[in-house]
Subunit: 353 residues, 2 copies
């Protein structure tokens, strides 16, 4: 996803000029709260489901299965190369729903604002959420705003929760992993974490890198359309990176996962930054990648479907599931050696999402 | 709802003894994150929908309408007379769904924890959420945890979002308000706000008052069972109190609302505290009350249904809807005078929910 384009009509001009910053009263439920909702959120998100301004939104669903997911976002800084907290908040929940095999439909947005936040920053974030929602084909249908006193928050925290509809016949879940499944990765890893680090206070370094933040529901639809329910498991390797995601799944499914180091794409800039900072790209967060476990016989079709989508052009098969070493992930190095991949311990990169 | 009973089996003992406080790594997506989820949240909330520990939860729904709602909670202090942030987080979203005429079913829980938070506090809050969810008959089905560095948050912030199912034939919405409707209030007002204020730093005063925080879905079911779709509008008067809720609805429906001061129950202790603090109880938050707009001919049945429920024993008819003064709320005083009730301006009580 490209960086926020503030030239779109709804992003300009800033609609509240009388209060340049957020006040405690903007969260008090009175006149200023209503002004904030009317002039910022209702204007940025405008849609027919949000319009009634009720305590909640009402939608019609067909009989079947829904998925629900939630994510809070505390990324620092709020704006980073390739994205911002608003875009991330939409993509994060859209992607969690997509990883359940669901078609993401509706999002809620909960804001915790720090007193003194610039109204312009809030507007840029809200506008960006609208753009990301449009890109993902979802609607933000209801929300909530709280304001905390100066020094008790950090600018903006956003929670999004979402509901998606799961197509008939699709069941994507960790426990469907089976020995023999191939493991696919949709592209190169580590870009989001490194992009954030490149602009951190006291750590900034020159880099052309941009976050890979993107809504993955279109990519998942391509995959499910190609191989249907032979997609067994999907996961977006965010915090903790590809390593932690695979460890978690292997442990849940009580099966072994074998991956091949050479098959995992890493940009030179990411590799360089990681060497400089003492990080392993396998543990660095992504916000626009997925790993897919697919029935072996459908591997080529799955790979072709991923590669045919703009977000999956660099997709590759990175490994397979084995009945050996249940619960463990083992990586074969380029030199032929093997090492056990452990779940991340400690904290590599705080507040990257 | 009674204060948290920590004697319940799942609330004791504290399940993580090796880390007495929350570390940044508890939000990093690695080993400590998993320990926190397994030992605190999965244990407190245990249910079959949460169990798969996927990126989201999957539920089956019938064809029809669903309601979605969200609320973030930043109440200060975390524990107050009659409740705590966890209980509030469950009741708040349950009540918002109920105000849409929906039967609340599933909640998500998103935590933003401050580094250094006591693990015992977190456990007490999570246990209390489970108790409140049980009381309301809802399940917490998926969640997320982020940790921010010390001084960038304030202990615990919680977001909940929820989904409820709207029964066939029920349509509760601000625009259904009609001239002639009676306005019912389910009990005495202002207790939540005053209970919070009574324990605020630098302001604490002696009071026996407890918050009225409670899940209102049972009360709504009683009302809908009695008078069905002749319930036109429901609203829980939280931030901004009964005054702001009525102003908001009058403005949305473009109708006038007339209320009678004498009909609105206020406890002596609330009235006394409000006089001392210069507050108007009509603007003070409630967390376990509702106002209902009901077709005139069904007023007695509606009142009887509310009073028959433990949370509505003090319910009363407080006014009616009129085609006069559209968009305005007018209160008749005990002395026969009239005054216009304005939406709250400014901030009376920051961070009461």
């Amino acid at each position: 996803m490209s960086p926020v384009d503030l030239s779109l009509p709804f992003a300009c001009p800033l609609p509240i000029s009388d209060y340049p910053t957020v006040l405690l009263a903007h969260g008090g439920g009175g006149r200023l709260s209503h002004q904030l909702i009317d002039k910022v959120f209702a204007k940025a998100f405008a849609n027919e489901l949000l319009a009634p301004m009720h305590d909640g939104a009402v939608m019609r669903v067909p009989a079947g299965r829904i998925a629900m997911s939630t994510d809070s976002f505390v990324v620092k800084p709020l704006f980073f190369p390739g994205g911002n907290i608003g875009e991330l908040a939409v993509c994060g929940t859209v992607n969690d729903l997509a990883m359940c095999g669901a078609t993401p439909m509706w999002l809620t947005a909960g804001y915790i604002l720090e007193e003194g936040l610039s109204m312009e920053t809030l507007w840029r974030v809200a506008s960006s959420m609208r753009q990301a929602a449009d890109q993902a084909g979802v609607k933000i249908v209801t929300g909530d705003t709280k304001v905390v006193d100066r020094g008790k928050g950090d600018g903006i925290f956003i929670n999004t929760a979402g509901v998606g509809l799961i197509p008939e016949g699709i069941e994507v879940a960790p426990l469907r992993m089976a020995a023999g499944d191939v493991v696919l990765l949709s592209g190169d890893i580590g870009r989001h974490g490194v992009a954030i680090l490149s602009v951190r206070d006291g750590l900034s370094f020159e880099s052309e890198l941009q976050s890979d933040a993107a809504p993955l529901n279109g990519l998942v639809t391509s995959l499910l359309t190609a191989v249907g329910n032979d997609v067994h498991v999907l996961r977006d390797p965010t915090r903790g990176g590809v390593a932690s995601a695979l460890c978690e799944l292997a442990s849940a499914a009580k099966l072994g996962v074998e991956i091949h180091e050479k098959a995992i794409p890493v940009r030179d800039a990411v590799r360089g930054a990681c060497e400089m900072l003492g990080l392993d790209p396998l543990y660095v967060a992504n916000e626009g990648k997925l790993v897919a476990f697919v029935k072996k016989e459908r591997a080529d079709e799955a790979l072709a479907a991923l590669r045919a989508h703009p977000l999956g052009t660099e997709a590759s098969i990175i490994g397979q599931v084995t009945a050996e070493h249940p619960g463990r992930v083992v990586m074969k190095s380029g030199m032929g050696g093997k090492r056990v991949i452990e779940m991340m311990s400690g904290e590599q990169l705080p507040r990257i999402c």
